[in-house]
Symmetry: C2
Subunit: 220 residues, 2 copies
DNA sequence: GTCTATATGGAGATAGAC
DNA sequence: GTCTATCTCCATATAGAC
């Protein structure tokens, strides 16, 4: 809507870049706003003029990440047909993008409280989250999976939660090359696919009836 | 091992009680160590002499909670026979105990990082955690459930995780009387029991084979 | 609107009194 | 060992220069 306010945008980007470089190098906790400001070549107050808080910088990183990944993911989704391939397209792109930034992601996972401005579950992050859920919805819809009506409407949001769990585990996974996360991902993905495949068997009726009743209230 | 060092124990308890009262009233975040110390009638340094950090106070609360609950839970377990009743005995006692302390529990759930001294997943909290897992092990063992060998050894730890998830959800559940958590609990507990009941069906073989492979690496 | 300089209040550390 | 007084460092707020 605005007439390209170039100068301030450039400054904002400079702060963000400086901060991210620092956070990547030393981790979020051990970096100070003074260092961020100095590294960006300005006073602390200037950094606060552009970002409400230290956390807000991480939030900006997420917004940027989302923007930079979405086109590529959409393309990958166009090429993949099976549900497995489509889910992998979304999830693996995320990990690829986040890999160099693992040390700064702890900042986010520290805020489970939805009231906190940078919680991934709060209203401040709703736009990013819904865009993200939409990717999973696309992955599911165009793969043509059949699921009981009780859980089908919630599947994309459940997959988003699943992905958040994976990322959380990965952030604190200190095994070499995060091999444990790799395994967690591979095994749970298979389990998920098997579960979806057999979900409509009459035997499992009681399970998705319960799940449906639950989801209806949780997501309301 | 020590000869009852009464004086320091009394001071420590006084600080803990003052802190918990404050945390309950105003929440953990909004309370300061200065207030805690003043409320306990001493200088800030004294509080730090007894507790390494503000977080450490919450940790002490957990240790106390564990100690105060375990006898009662053990008794309840002696009276309950079915797996459902036994699991309820453990889980519901926790919620009953924690209910007046909901506002101070946010402190704990904020530390997913196992490296952090007060993370529920770190080594500093191992003793409490293992004692807690042992309660679930008792609940399962003496209920005589039959499960595939692939997952049976991990069941208690999985149930502990399940409980942690419930508590986390509950801490940030602002619905009246935490009704949503109530529902989450009732529905997922039923789902869990149904799942365990049908777990040995040949149809589900691929699922617990995968689960077994996963758990073996995750818990190692 | 953009940014600097300076202030505030809190967690935690430390020196040393007793 | 127990505790007070004081210090440091940080996130964040604010006054006001340009």
């Amino acid at each position: 809507m605005k007439k390209t306010p170039r100068k301030s945008d450039e400054t904002r980007t400079r702060i963000l870049d400086a901060a991210l470089a620092l956070f990547r190098e030393r981790g979020f906790e051990r970096s100070t706003m003074r260092e961020v400001a100095q590294s960006a070549g300005m006073a602390v107050g200037a950094a606060y003029y552009y970002f409400d808080s230290k956390d807000a910088i991480v939030l900006a990183f997420y917004a940027r990440a989302q923007a930079e990944m979405s086109a590529g993911i959409a393309e990958s989704l166009d090429r993949a047909t099976t549900l497995e391939a489509r889910l992998r397209a979304v999830i693996e792109r995320k990990f690829e993008y986040f890999r160099p930034n693992r040390r700064l992601m702890g900042a986010l996972s520290a805020h489970a409280d939805p009231e906190h401005p940078v919680s991934p579950f709060g209203k401040e992050t709703r736009a990013i989250r819904e865009e993200d859920v939409a990717l999973f919805e696309r992955a599911v819809t165009e793969s043509g999976v059949k699921l009981p009506d009780t859980v089908r409407p919630y599947l994309a949001r459940l997959l988003w939660m699943y992905q958040m769990g994976l990322i959380l585990f990965w952030v604190y996974d200190n095994s070499a090359g995060q091999k444990r996360t790799e395994l967690l991902y591979e095994k749970t993905l298979k389990m998920l696919l098997v579960t979806l495949k057999i979900a409509r068997l009459p035997l499992l009726r009681p399970l998705h009836r319960l799940a449906g009743e639950l989801l209806q209230v949780i997501y309301s």
